[in-house]
Symmetry: C2
Subunit: 526 residues, 2 copies
């Protein structure tokens, strides 16, 4: 496989190469914590010259692909040290009002387009499914319907508006997971998971009462004091390495970094279980992976059977994301489903990161072909809108019990509808599957050349990750990619994860792969 | 005081009065759980004839006021039984997808304007500060800046955009409470309070560590398992009757209805304290109210001093809203502030309901003139955007500790900016103060005439409430107002609360007052 840089012989390229030592193409990946450095802000407003057949390429070439985004530049560009002086000044200013220590850039949203983001001197944003300044979303944003929903924000629980059911049908319900014909809309991923937990607790108690709606006076009085039996000692079961949010309930099911949990009171009886630690590529380690999954299933059953605190629901991610892009087989998840059925525990699948096409299927859990669908599936991020699908039985036994002022946001549902239309019109799930397969294949090739550096290439669709030998080397790799103009982010202890947008194509992958290969070729242990 | 109906001699009025037995003017209050019945949907798109001096009035007349909203109708209108057939059908349809049992109407947002909301056959929405289809908000919604923020939703913690600091300065920071020069932006009221609690816990532990940033290994390992010392046993202190949200942390500080808390696991060591139960009008019961407040302060001190679980923060509403519009004096809150200082407890003021001008001051707690400002002030609802102001010392000691993907929403901050401009341009806080004073004065007059029915008229600005003798009579009163076209809501056990919009004027108050008086005059114990 060729490792050379991509030099684009276009007016843009010449302008870039004459003004910066970092002007060679770097990686325009696109999302989550993987990000890219900017191109020239002063020229970005102009449409970029596209690559022509007279250009001389060395390396990966995908100029034959039809552009999913019109007007994108041919590649990224770095003008300054990173962070640049304007970004530094901008963040310093903002820091007088808000904590900016997590900020990796300051974006210029007017100049950003498609897979390319511009910062005050350059960069990228999480969870935009259609890329920057998507034409379809701009059109939808300017529609009278959107303006109406923005200006007249409805309290959806008490006063839903006339078109809300239709919006639900045209957005979420059109992609509702099999068997889940109800949707509870919320504001963010944490809220989605927490309201789903509440539903699970209420359902558990309702079943305990024999579905008879007779509430004991003691239950009513004790819950006002935060004590049992009205505030029952019940648990949500989660997995080591799982991430489900950062509020008090969701944080008690999150087990990623101590930084996320330290000093915050938690529900100490909410048990966590080991998640399989598999070897990659999966197909080459079938036997030992099967054994590891069997071990985790056994422990899960032991927990369910013997939990001191009754478990109302189990929550699991199809791919543990924040925890390190940890995968498990369809058989493992079927095993979990069987256990939840056996022990009368609801199964909640958290698709906040994995949902909406990125894995090459609309919902990642579709790949499991479960014999019985999950009880609840939560979503957020790429859908812009948040919430959870559920079976009708999960609905609370009285109004106002699972409730808040807004109950979600119609403008985000309208955006979800547009996103779905674009996914369909542009065949973006197929694009994610194909681009992802290509990315994975090429990363495996790079791994073969640099086996002491890259390992455990894994993932589905463009939801990919790979490991470095140690956390230190991972950090070094990230830093070196950054100096090349590729701002990747880590997950788990020593992984780098990719979260490109749905409009990320093979031509973008090429630029990214060349950057990874370059850093790998020069990698030395710290 | 005259009690007659308002008959408007305009083309509209004639059309209304000829077609419905409920066509007399009913109450166009405006918000929260107080709502109004519709006028004619088929004619609403036309500008309404305004009242002329040739009209014959009996009752309250405020035709001299300049209209804050152009194009409003002269009064509400009922076409059908309530709920009407279209609303019923619409809710039935929606109910196939979502629980609609809390829904009181289904709105037609295209037809609604100012203080008037239209439903499929007619009604109202919570927390719109400027009324329906506000011209200023529509203009802002259509701006390129708004479209950009809508389409390119930034992850504000990791990648704030170039104009975010400016937006913060022009919105929240321009009305930051004295002494609080930092803002943490969030998605909703519950999230605001919960992230404020997290900040309080982290601050408490940091102080305990002597601000030296040295974290014990045991803290880091235990927090991953949800147990102490890493997940410490610490509490937020709240008040009986307080409402601070419905997620797991906030719900543990909420003590309103059992319905809100039943079956949901809670932090059993998070203590609650009595809130003063005062007699109204306050100035006529000074001595006994002082005594009641002294009693509650004593109990609060006892709790702080002897709590088994250390208290990191105390949260309190300036006016307990959901809990029944319970007031306390500035002296009581100063007493609480003194106690929190004495016992090293942070003071969080929850202005989610009371903020943004409705009480006749921008923040209700400004009325206390505290000797030292609260440590944290949370907001949401009328600001559309949510978050909390805080002292700089409250900022976490490391990035990512109090964090999430979105960290608020810039489109709501842009709306907050427009709301502030309109408040300033139209002097809306003064309007709330004056309209509220008028409303209160007139309600007191109605109380004098019907002392066995109405009592405990109370409130500041338009943030008003009154009591009925029993919960049953309150419910009956609400039902009777509804049949008249006035859809009020309860709070506490036997109160009715008013939450009009900031553009609610005396002319709207008149219509509302006439309806209340009519129902009071016909009130019989059930």
């Amino acid at each position: 496989m060729a490792t050379s840089r991509i030099w684009l012989r276009t007016p843009l390229h010449r302008a870039l190469s004459s003004s910066s030592s970092f002007s060679r193409a770097a990686a325009p990946a696109a999302h989550g914590r993987t990000s890219f450095r900017p191109f020239d802000r002063t020229t970005l407003a102009r449409p970029y010259a596209s690559v022509t057949s007279s250009d001389t390429y060395v390396g990966r070439i995908h100029k034959d692909q039809q552009d999913l985004v019109q007007g994108e530049p041919s590649g990224p560009r770095i003008n300054t040290a990173i962070p640049g002086p304007k970004t530094k000044a901008g963040l310093q200013h903002l820091d007088t009002l808000q904590d900016t220590r997590a900020a990796t850039m300051m974006t210029d949203l007017e100049q950003s387009i498609g897979n390319y983001v511009v910062d005050l001197d350059g960069n990228i944003i999480a969870s935009l499914p259609l890329g920057y300044n998507s034409k379809a979303l701009i059109e939808a944003a300017s529609s009278p319907e959107m303006v109406r929903m923005l200006v007249n924000r409805p309290a959806l629980g008490v006063q839903p508006h006339s078109t809300w059911a239709k919006t639900l049908e045209e957005s979420f319900m059109s992609v509702a997971p099999k068997g889940l014909n109800q949707v509870f809309t919320a504001m963010c991923g944490s809220c989605s998971n927490e309201t789903a937990y509440k539903a699970a607790f209420m359902y558990h108690q309702r079943r305990k009462r024999g579905f008879n709606n007779e509430i004991a006076a003691e239950d009513l009085s004790t819950c006002m004091k935060n004590v049992g039996p009205g505030s029952p000692d019940l648990a949500i079961m989660s997995f080591d390495g799982g991430f489900h949010g950062r509020l008090f309930g969701s944080l008690s099911t999150t087990h990623t970094k101590a930084l996320h949990k330290l000093d915050i009171p938690a529900f100490s009886n909410w048990v966590s279980n080991p998640f399989p630690s598999l070897k990659y590529p999966l197909d080459r380690h079938q036997a030992e992976n099967d054994k590891e999954e069997a071990r985790c299933l056994e422990l899960a059953e032991d927990t369910m059977k013997n939990a001191r605190t009754p478990i109302a629901a189990m929550i699991v991610e199809p791919i543990q994301s924040e925890g390190g892009d940890n995968h498990a087989s369809a058989r493992f998840f079927q095993g979990l489903r069987d256990l939840t059925k056996k022990y009368d525990i609801l199964m909640i699948v958290d698709e906040v990161q994995t949902g909406v096409g990125v894995t090459g299927q609309f919902w990642a859990h579709e790949a499991w072909n479960l014999t019985s669908p999950p009880d609840i599936v939560t979503f957020s991020k790429k859908f812009q809108a948040a919430g959870w699908f559920h079976r009708p039985e999960i609905r609370a036994d009285a109004p106002y019990r699972n409730f808040n002022t807004w109950m979600g946001d119609p403008i985000r549902a309208l955006q979800a509808r547009t996103i779905l239309q674009e996914i369909k019109n542009k065949d973006l799930i197929k694009n994610a599957a194909e681009t992802g397969a290509y990315l994975k294949h090429e990363l495996l090739s790079i791994e073969k050349k640099y086996p002491d550096t890259l390992s455990a290439i894994r993932g589905r669709g463009t939801f990919l990750a790979f490991d470095l030998p140690t956390p230190q080397e991972r950090d070094l790799f990230v830093t070196r990619l950054r100096t090349l103009g590729v701002n990747t982010g880590g997950c788990g202890s020593q992984s780098i994860r990719l979260r490109p947008m749905l409009v990320f194509q093979k031509k973008h992958a090429d630029i990214f792969l060349d950057a990874v290969e370059k850093v790998a070729s020069q990698h030395k242990k710290p």
